[in-house]
């Protein structure tokens, strides 16, 4: 019984280890989305700021 548990534990551990290098690829989509949102915010801010300066 304890041998089974040990085996399950080992399998769980070994399953979680290969997931680590995958995080690099998992973050790429998030990174692109965050940067796209950031670029949108910067462009909108600049557009409003330039409009404000031009109308001064």
């Amino acid at each position: 019984m304890s041998a089974d548990l040990q085996q399950i534990k080992e399998q769980t551990d070994s399953r979680s280890i290969p997931e680590q290098p995958n995080q690099e690829t998992e973050f790429k989509g998030t990174f692109v989305s965050v940067m796209a949102l950031g670029a949108f915010v910067v462009l909108m801010w600049l557009a409003v700021f330039i409009l404000f300066i031009v109308r001064q």
Partner: protein
Amino acid sequence: MHIHRLEKIWLTFGLAMLFVFLGILGISAFAMGAQPPSPHRHMIDPTRVQETAPFDAPGIKQVADGEYEAVMIAYAFGYSPNKMEVPAGSTVHFTITSPDVIHGFEIPGTNVNMMVIPGEVSQISHKFTKPGEYLILCNEYCGTGHEYMNTVIVVK
């Protein structure tokens, strides 16, 4: 704590953006004197506007070369004085208050846009470089005649 490389990049980007925005705001406020139209505590009794100087004689007058001061009252539903004229290239300092409810003061196409609050004196300046007829209108709903509330400043 482990922070992923990409997370570090976007956290740095976000923080830098915040500092740049706040920095520009801080420089324009503290070094260049940008301020909201009612930053000072300039109180007036709203029930005695017509007897209180300078609002006992609303109008526009020249205060310096190329500078005018427009003393105005925003009331339901209009502005006093009703029509103003300045030469092109003049800077007009608007000083305005309300004897009744909250009104708006906007000149479309310019940065002039402020609230006129009873008991407060709002001030804003604008340089009119191009000749034309500039509409001044109320953009705060003030009652049934709100849409008729306007005046003009003619720049020649």
